[in-house]
Symmetry: C3
Subunit: 159 residues, 3 copies
């Protein structure tokens, strides 16, 4: 009774629309006083990348990965109807028309609402990312930390 | 003890196979006396569209979205092995052979079992859909309503 | 108090990266003494296929399905950046460099940790697979069995 509810999201996807769904649910849950954690792994990590290139030492393959993946949420494609980047432009236009928050603002809002943003250290390593390339305020952790949150979660989603 | 179990599904996907998985789980849960809600958002909304075009006032971009997206579950593609529409045909053929229910029947069955079908109003607006284009018996609501269901849910899935 | 926690995963996806995420979570949960079930359905069934062709009686369409789908986890593609099979090779190379377990080993580990591996009988039939083509130690069951596990689950995911 009166116990704080918990929401956890594993954000695996790096598609603009799916990341948007994740952050809308997270912000909604935070507004209803849930403790919320988003655990970013694989392509979902790209939502946390700074949008300008950062000077860091990388191997050839790590540089390739870095270039092929979107730098930040705003550069992501859609999971459907992407049409070589025309889809995201259309979606962003209609979002503007409907006064819906663009994805980078949804992420800012999540931070302000104390949604815990976690980057999966193992996949950070696999994709050759460096801590300096990830936005401020993000924690780095592993599957054990995720499970500790999720096993007491009321709403646990994989997106 | 004796409390009603709850299942909630966020149906984000608009792929025939994923929507089928969602409705099979929902119908199963309803058969086991769960209270079941499917919250349709983004491409998942297309499962709820009437299959004939409805005369409604739309902007140019809304008309485009309307044409590019499948009108109803039966016109959806597969998430894998779609092969320009040949994959869905093959799957439907083998489903028939195995007496598996086609997707439109699974949706009908869900309604008959009182599965609550919800369309996310925000994404209805974004994709330029109108209430008249959505099948009867669907509620329109937002993320707050979803969370109110899900925070007491036993099985919460994002599909 | 002291009650065993439960994790269930519906593994719908047949992408190397998503299957890897599923098995990493499953192995993590098993290491924390959760009872863990992975319910493989649709393309996720391919993770359970033996990697050599098995002689079984099949219809023409079942043979086609069998050939088009990957035989076992090691032959799967990526959900993103697959680049005609070059993506998986790159990922496997960096995994080796970081001493991360390849997917077939993660599946072996799950078995050793008594993760319950279930194949959805209905989709086994739909995709024209035979029990002889599925690896040892896998149970065959339906959505009812899944729900019986999931309704008491602490962490329930759809991947």
């Amino acid at each position: 009774m009166g116990e704080t509810k918990k929401t956890t999201i594993v954000l695996f996807s790096g598609d603009y629309d799916k990341v948007m769904a994740a952050y809308i649910i997270a912000n909604g849950a935070a507004a209803y006083d849930h403790e919320v954690t988003i655990f970013h792994t694989f392509w979902g990590l790209n939502a946390l990348r700074k949008d300008e290139p950062i000077q860091v030492e990388k191997s050839f393959i790590e540089k390739m990965f870095g270039k092929m993946m979107p730098r930040g949420a705003n550069k992501m494609g859609l999971s459907k109807m992407n049409y070589a980047g025309f889809g995201p432009k259309m979606i962003k236009d209609v979002m503007k028309k409907h006064n819906a928050m663009p994805l980078p603002d949804l992420i800012e809002m999540a931070k302000e609402q104390d949604v815990k943003l976690v980057a999966c250290q193992m996949t950070v390593d696999l994709l050759g990312l460096r801590h300096e390339e990830i936005m401020e305020g993000v924690e780095f952790a592993g599957v054990a930390a995720y499970l500790a949150d999720a096993e007491n979660g009321n709403v646990n989603l994989f997106i």
